[in-house]
């Protein structure tokens, strides 16, 4: 009589404990807020105000200098605010940042404070909330999506251009910077003739393709028609139109003739070492690379310029984009967490911290407060380009918003297709027909 209930009870307890052990476990996620009461010792009132709070943060970490700069601010902030714990979720992966963010969301780890680059997408999905109004005064310009402000911009948009080795130019007999596209190609010929790979491209990272692809798209399309994307969505224009075909043909010819052979195996973070070791003479990228290059070899001499188009006009990426720090919807439901995040944002943009971040990333400040730092020669060129009224400012294909927003999945598909076009020596028109088809499919899929 004794054995029966004992065995049955044991079985139930064991079954329940195993199940609960598996389901339970320490909640190591960063989404927890420790609301434990302060200690029993004195100074209870002061302890009460310093409630322990933790939140998670996620940002694009493809640029090591940028990652370190943000990481340093986080560490310093936590040292000065011991009651606030920030769990840094950022990690360097082979995925594009958008893929990483969506994967984090899928596994329930969407960061509480997130660097947002696809604002409209995540705002429409209800993942982020509007920027708290008491933070907006910090910034000189705040991009809007459907009339709402979601982002605290990390920096203003920086232009992309050629970062070149002065030594390689000198050795190839290049004495003047190009005034138009044909002169630029002539320089590539000189460099090639001198036995150096003219251009390094970090094609292993799909986002890197955007630098060159958008250079041609901006020159041929967006400068003349900033609403091209919305017209494409309405099927009023096509990827097979002569201007797009010309842009893609220019891209293909450049890649087939002047880009380093191993470009598809080269990561974006390897490009700086190509320049400083003399394996390539130039890199087409943005000012955030200046720090990486200087760190790779402090004695390496390099310059920067924006590549002109066939008519000699200079067009660059430079319009404001809807991007920057955003508060997640989940985090906004927790008052303590929201306050901690706001505190961190204010701290991030404090002159002493923000200056260091800008210096490291060679960013253009987005704050109202006039942030000054010692601009290098290359950075001064960047600032001059941005200040030049004759330079047309535009955006990359995936950075337009509102009616010009493209299907979010199209960018990566298009860049991959353009990689294939080069390595398979494909027919541009045929590939652009496929692009039309894919774009329409994706528009249709998104509208379902």
């Amino acid at each position: 009589m004794f054995r029966k209930p004992w065995i049955k009870l044991s079985a139930i307890v064991l079954a329940a404990s195993i199940t609960l052990t598996a389901c339970g476990g320490g909640n190591s996620g960063g989404n927890t807020v420790d609301k434990s009461a302060p200690g029993n010792n004195g100074g209870a009132v002061q302890e009460e105000t310093k409630k322990e709070v933790s939140f998670t943060i996620g940002y694009a970490s493809g640029d090591p200098a940028g990652k370190k700069a943000i990481s340093d601010v986080i560490t310093k902030f936590m040292e000065e605010n011991p009651n606030i714990k920030i769990k840094d979720l950022s990690e360097t992966t082979s995925s594009a940042y958008l893929d990483w963010l969506k994967t984090k969301d899928a596994v329930g780890e969407f960061p509480d404070l997130v660097e947002m680059r696809d604002t409209e997408l995540f705002a429409n999905a209800g993942k982020i909330v509007e920027l708290p109004t008491d933070l907006r005064d910090l910034f000189s310009t705040l991009p809007e999506v459907d009339g709402k402000v979601y982002n605290a911009p990390l920096t203003m948009t920086s232009p992309w251009g050629i970062i070149y080795s002065k030594k390689a130019y000198e050795e190839a007999g290049v004495t003047e910077l190009p005034k138009n596209w044909d002169e630029f190609i002539a320089i590539q010929e000189k460099l090639k003739g001198n036995g150096i790979s003219p251009l390094v491209v970090g094609g292993k990272d799909i986002f890197h393709m955007g630098f060159w692809v958008n250079k041609f798209l901006i020159d041929q399309i967006y400068v003349k028609d900033p609403d091209w994307n919305s017209k494409r969505t309405a099927k009023e224009v096509s990827f097979t139109d002569p201007n797009v075909v010309q842009a893609v043909t220019d891209y293909k010819e450049l890649f087939q003739n002047y880009v380093d052979k191993g470009w598809l195996s080269t990561g974006d973070n390897q490009t700086a070492s190509f320049l400083v070791t003399g394996k390539a003479a130039q890199l087409y990228s943005g000012p955030w690379m200046f720090t990486q290059i200087a760190e790779a070899d402090p004695n390496f001499e390099f310059g920067f310029y924006a590549v002109p188009d066939r008519e000699g006009k200079v067009n660059v990426v430079g319009l404001p984009t809807a991007g920057g720090w955003s508060l997640s919807t989940e985090a906004s439901k927790d008052q303590d967490k929201t306050e901690a995040i706001k505190e961190f944002i204010r701290y991030f943009y404090k002159a002493e911290n923000y200056t260091k971040y800008l210096e490291t990333t060679n960013g253009i400040p987005s704050t109202k407060e006039n942030i000054k730092y010692n601009a290098t020669e290359q950075m001064q060129t960047v600032l001059d380009i941005m200040a030049d009224a004759n330079v047309t400012k535009s955006l990359a294909i995936n950075n337009w918003w509102g009616k010009n927003l493209i299907p979010p999945q199209f960018r990566n598909w298009y860049y991959k297709q353009l990689q294939e076009l080069v390595v398979k020596d494909g027919d541009v028109l045929e590939y652009m027909k496929q692009a039309d088809k894919e774009y329409d499919n994706q528009v249709k899929a998104n509208s379902m």
């Binding site: 079954a15 199940t19 052979k261 195996s265 991959k416 899929a445 379902m448």
Partner: protein, 308 residues
């Protein structure tokens, strides 16, 4: 010793007693059953529903779209390309992994000297995760900094130094060979167990009758390995159809879409392109493909086992 299992299986145990013990057994099965239901059965059944929706994976808005995802799969050149890549990779991997595994097993079986060391060396790569293996091979095969190209350059064969992972002619080959390197050791162990179960007398008798090594392998060893072949072929096939890690790390499905397989496409469209509904429909198609091929393969190989 009397155990619950012997009590249940003993025909002399009364029905009442047996039922009682079975109910205890059920309690012990319960935790595993609950976890399996929560993490496997529920998502699997749920995925059937999602395959008929246009859910993007992050929005609360889930719309039923009927068979639209499956129609798109049928018509999509990208899916056709992924299916083609999957088939090429599967056939190559199943054949190469098994051939290499049998050769290694024969080698380890025959060579008595340091056989344990060789067995460990050949088995070691299987202990690495696909991700780690992918990173290692990606570094080795890197066009500019990879050891393989640097060695080729050093020994005067610079012309053979190609962009292994960036050239569409070699990217698939690189993935297949690195996967064989990782997987063959596992199948080698299964074949080795099979080889060691073959009575030596058979080979000795054949040898006395004048059969050479190849003839002994062809007519004695290989037929008696039929059971191991069935297991290894099925496992290799399922593994190849599900290949993901190496592609994610080594080529990201590229160059272009040259190494994009069905599993990688499922991940790309599901997570990368915000089309969970479409990705789930693709997963269901892949599940059906694996099931059909496995059934056919097992039937064929079991029939062969009987014939042999």
């Amino acid at each position: 010793m009397t155990t619950p299992a012997t009590l249940i299986n003993n025909p002399q145990t009364s029905t009442k007693k047996r039922r009682k013990w079975q109910s205890y057994a059920l309690f012990f099965i319960l935790p595993a059953f609950i976890l399996y239901t929560l993490f496997v059965i529920v998502p699997t059944v749920g995925s059937i529903y999602y395959s008929f929706t246009s859910w993007d994976g992050i929005s609360p808005d889930i719309r039923f779209i009927g068979l639209a995802n499956f129609v798109e799969i049928w018509n999509s050149p990208r899916v056709h390309n992924a299916l083609k890549n999957t088939m090429i990779m599967t056939i190559s991997l199943v054949l190469l992994e098994n051939v290499v595994a049998i050769l290694l097993a024969l080698l380890v079986d025959k060579v008595r000297w340091l056989s344990k060391l060789f067995r460990s060396i050949f088995y070691f790569p299987t202990l690495l995760s696909g991700i780690v293996m992918g990173f290692v091979w990606a570094m080795l095969l890197n066009y500019n900094f990879g050891v393989i190209n640097q060695m080729l350059n050093k020994i005067g064969l610079g012309a053979l130094a190609v962009d292994w992972l960036g050239d569409p002619r070699y990217a698939m080959l690189a993935i297949v060979l690195s996967t064989v390197w990782k997987g063959a050791g596992y199948y080698m162990i299964i074949y080795l167990a099979g080889l060691q179960g073959i009575p030596q007398e058979l080979n000795e008798a054949a040898s006395i009758d004048g059969a050479n090594g190849w003839q002994q392998f062809r007519h004695i060893t290989f037929p008696l390995l039929a059971g191991s072949v069935t297991v290894c072929m099925v496992l290799a096939m399922i593994g190849a159809l599900k290949i993901f890690d190496q592609i994610a790390v080594m080529t990201d499905g590229g160059p272009g879409f040259e190494t994009e397989t069905l599993t990688y496409l499922i991940y790309k469209v599901g997570f990368g392109e915000l089309r969970q509904g479409f990705g789930t429909a693709l997963a269901i198609v892949l599940f059906l493909i694996i099931m059909i091929i496995t059934v056919i393969q097992v039937k064929f190989l079991q029939k062969r086992e009987v014939e042999l």
